[in-house]
């Protein structure tokens, strides 16, 4: 990891599972934020992102390949990716990049996500998203639309500075 990357916080889900992982009191001292998620659900479903505890004012355009066809669509939720549970003990990867998160403009973000599966269907998604709110980002939440994140799922929040 480059010297400008700093791991702010990380969390690994324990045996009880959890429906949501929320990072709060995010310091404003970095230039950008990036979140790296390794997630598996108790059942297949969507992972949704909230910003400052809000699930409103999101919009995104998504490119998706599923192993058979490619698609592009838009939506107005904080959806990041669909987690598959087709293959046992296999986790999906999601990276969310949020530039200029502490600024006073609307917050754009990008998502690079794959739902790992040793099966015909697996998802690879690239998302360009916007949270139409000018508040500085101080909290990020990641929630299973239904069920829980299972044990060993991890979420790590990094702060990135544009200089060392």
């Amino acid at each position: 990891m480059a010297l400008t990357y700093t791991a702010i916080s990380t969390y690994t889900v324990d045996s009880g599972g959890t429906a949501s992982i929320d990072f709060t009191s995010i310091p404003s001292t970095y230039t950008d934020l990036v979140v790296k998620l390794s997630l598996r659900g108790s059942s297949g479903n969507n992972v949704l992102m909230s910003i400052n505890s809000s699930t409103s004012n999101f919009s995104y355009r998504l490119l998706e390949g599923d192993g058979a066809s490619a698609a592009s669509y838009n939506n107005t939720t904080g959806r990041l990716n669909y987690i598959l549970t087709t293959t046992a003990n296999t986790f999906s990867n999601i990276e969310v990049y949020l530039p200029n998160y502490a600024g006073a403009t609307n917050k754009s973000y990008s998502v690079d996500a794959v739902s790992e599966a040793n099966a015909t269907t697996a998802f690879a998604d690239l998302t360009a998203g916007l949270w139409s709110n000018t508040s500085a980002i101080t909290a990020l939440g990641f929630t299973m639309a239904a069920g829980n994140f299972v044990q060993y799922s991890t979420a790590t929040l990094y702060g990135i500075k544009n200089t060392v």
């Binding site: 969390y11 959890t18 429906a19 992982i21 929320d22 709060t24 995010i26 310091p27 939506n75």
Partner: protein
């Protein structure tokens, strides 16, 4: 009751709390909203695919070859 993990980045303290009724309702509403939009998109995609297949069948009936149809 489902729980959430709160990671306080200023202190490093991690807390597990139960979701409130409002948070559960919001989660269900978000999931339902996404499912509704996704279903509409899939229906539209299926309708478009059906229309394309129908149009191609009509072109074949007019005597066009597969290569000619693909060239359109």
């Amino acid at each position: 009751m489902p729980t959430k993990i709160i990671v306080d980045c200023s202190t490093g303290v991690t807390t597990e709390v139960e979701l409130t009724a409002e948070e559960i309702a919001q989660r269900e509403a978000d999931a339902a909203a996404f499912a509704e939009i996704k279903a509409a998109e899939e229906a539209a995609a299926q309708a478009k695919a059906a229309a394309k297949a129908s149009a191609e069948a009509k072109l074949v009936a007019l005597g066009l070859t597969a290569d000619e149809i693909a060239a359109l």
